[in-house]
């Protein structure tokens, strides 16, 4: 198209305004946080002045603390473990749901999909709160479980404020994120492939394991990324439903920023988390590119 001055101005305006906003309120804060990780904590919390007595105050103390004190690595590892478990159980639960919706006829499909998404649109805290009720000590579930345990002479086990509660809620909150990409993938599967396999003698389990599941891997990876990365940084769920043992990296970050007020150290933790998240997101994107061959025709390559 002819590049007239007005056209170019329009182009700069349309891409420029959102760009400016995001630079101001996303990129720059991120850079400031990186900077903060090299500074010293202020006397009353926060950050101490950048320039003091004519010298720029930058150091690696917070970083060395992170790398020397093993407890932070342990907490990080625990967060990774919880995120892995969450991803695994989400996959287990999401697969039948996605498969059912994918198999359904056109009429039901949209409704079934909507039903999966709806809970996601309710407030996050409500979903956490709901599990507080279900797992509460006086609620039916806890009482029946503990009743059963007391039969065997076991001590009552608190369901609430435990790792179990945290995990259940993590799975609950992230489930829709696993269902959607999985469904998007399964929907494209060609029934003819399964028919051919059956014709060649494969039973139900074999058809699933050798055909459906491998072909669904791109959807699995996408869902895994959508679950694992947010789950890694979660703090509200352990905060509300977890016990003292269940502090995850997100909780520590929150603590550093709002309670201990050691902002440089909090920034270090955040940066480590960001690097991990971005690396995983990059990995997921790379895997997705390599796996562009969806079961039917070629994928949509428009950016």
């Amino acid at each position: 198209m002819a590049a007239r001055p007005e056209a170019r101005l329009g182009k700069w305006l349309v891409s420029g305004l959102p760009l400016l906003y995001l630079i101001a309120f996303f990129a720059i804060p991120a850079l400031i946080m990186v900077l903060a990780s090299f500074r010293t904590p202020g006397e009353f919390g926060g950050l101490s002045p950048l320039v003091e007595n004519g010298k720029i105050d930058l150091n690696l103390e917070s970083y060395s603390r992170f790398f020397t004190d093993s407890i932070y690595a342990q907490i990080f590892a625990k967060s990774v473990w919880y995120a892995l478990l969450t991803t695994f159980f989400c996959l287990l639960l999401a697969y039948p749901l996605a498969a059912l919706v994918a198999k359904s006829g056109k009429k039901h499909r949209d409704l079934l999909l909507l039903l999966v998404i709806l809970p996601f649109w309710s407030n996050f805290l409500i979903r956490v709160y709901a599990w507080m009720i279900i797992l509460g000590p006086n609620a039916a579930l806890a009482r029946s479980v503990n009743g059963l345990l007391s039969w065997f002479g076991h001590e009552p086990v608190p369901l609430l404020f435990s790792s179990f509660a945290v995990l259940v809620c993590l799975v609950y909150v992230h489930l829709p994120f696993m269902v959607l990409p999985l469904y998007a993938n399964l929907e494209k599967h060609d029934q003819a492939l399964l028919d051919a396999a059956q014709d060649l003698g494969a039973n139900g389990w074999q058809r699933f394991w050798r055909i459906t599941f491998p072909l669904s891997l791109p959807g699995v990876y996408a869902g895994a990324a959508l679950v694992f990365i947010p789950a890694l940084g979660i703090f509200a769920i352990p905060d509300i439903l977890g016990g003292p043992e269940d502090s995850l990296i997100g909780n520590v970050i929150k603590q550093q920023f709002l309670e201990t007020r050691d902002w440089p150290f909090g920034s270090v933790l955040s940066i480590v988390l960001t690097v991990a998240a971005l690396a995983l997101a990059g990995l997921a994107a790379w895997v997705a590119r390599g796996n562009l061959g969806t079961p039917s025709s070629g994928g949509d390559t428009r950016a």
């Binding site: 007005e6 329009g10 349309v14 891409s15 959102p18 760009l19 906003y21 309120f25 996303f26 804060p29 400031i32 946080m33 903060a36 926060g46 950050l47 639960l93 999401a94 039948p96 498969a99 059912l100 359904s104 949209d110 999909l113 909507l114 999966v116 809970p119 649109w121 407030n123 996050f124 805290l125 979903r127 709160y129 709901a130 507080m132 009720i133 509460g136 006086n138 609620a139 039916a140 609950y172 489930l175 829709p176 139900g204 990365i229 890694l232 940084g233 703090f235 509200a236 509300i240 997100g250 970050i253 929150k254 920023f257 920034s267 955040s270 960001t274 971005l278 997101a281 949509d300 950016a303």
Partner: protein
């Protein structure tokens, strides 16, 4: 469908049950005439009544609404522009900045904005929350708008220009009307995300400002009463209404394409 595999149906049904039973319990107990969310005693509207007389709750609700209106308006405008830029001009840097907030855990944005505002000596309050919400809502609107543009026939804009329309006129008369359902869906989504947001608001609200999710949080942590159930139920109804409207405008929003 030829055969209905029982195993699949039961597993899927269990999945749906898992998704909905907790929410149903919240709703049901909002009418429970008992302080404890333990067992059913009797039916009452009392908690809703208390809710509507709860000053703090009403202020929080008002704040949430105000922030959501502002945030959704601005992020829809900027997000639509971003969506157009990403699709038409393949703006690489913009794409990265638009999509990254969605890809990383929310706490990171909350924390970095906290440092940012404090460093600028910007008082934390309604405005800081709104600014933060806009930042992460832009991405969602941009994605929806971009998808809608991708589904539109390219030659229509060319035809408009061929008929004598300047690029701006072509956008206003042809492109915009055709992507409008996507823009509205994006706006509704931004509104919902803003009203529901907890993590980012938690870090950028400061001491004196409370939004509905923050109020719910403090109630959960400090003194749980079924008022929480009541406000949760109302929020769910609101969200449900918005989603139904949005899905009517863009049926393709829910499909895999």
């Amino acid at each position: 469908m030829r055969r209905r595999p029982v195993a699949l149906w039961t597993a899927a049904f269990a999945g749906y049950a898992f998704l909905y039973i907790p929410l149903v319990i919240v709703v049901v107990y909002s009418f429970n005439d008992s302080r404890l969310n333990a067992e059913w005693v009797g039916f009452t509207f009392g908690w809703y009544d208390k809710l509507f007389h709860n000053e703090e709750m009403l202020t929080a609700a008002g704040n949430s609404l105000l922030i959501a209106l502002v945030a959704s308006a601005v992020s829809t405008l900027l997000g639509t522009m971003a969506g157009v830029a990403m699709y038409r001009y393949r703006a690489k840097l913009l794409s990265i900045l638009v999509l990254t907030p969605i890809a990383i855990p929310e706490i990171l944005m909350g924390v970095s904005l906290l440092i940012f505002f404090v460093m600028l000596n910007f008082t934390l309050g309604l405005v800081s929350v709104a600014l933060a919400h806009i930042a992460f809502c832009i991405g969602f609107v941009a994605i929806v708008v971009r998808a809608r543009l991708a589904g539109m026939d390219e030659s229509l804009t060319e035809a408009a220009r061929d008929c004598g329309a300047t690029p701006f006129q072509a956008f206003m008369h042809v492109t915009l009307p055709l992507i409008m359902p996507g823009v509205i869906a994006g706006a509704l989504m931004a509104f919902t995300l803003s009203i529901d947001d907890f993590v980012i608001t938690f870090f950028t609200a400061g001491a004196g400002t409370v939004t509905l999710p923050l109020q719910i949080y403090s109630m959960i942590k400090i003194a749980v009463t079924p008022e929480v159930n009541a406000v949760s139920t109302l929020l769910m109804l609101l969200t449900l209404a918005l989603i139904v409207i949005a899905s009517h405008l863009t049926p393709s929003l829910l499909r895999s394409d």
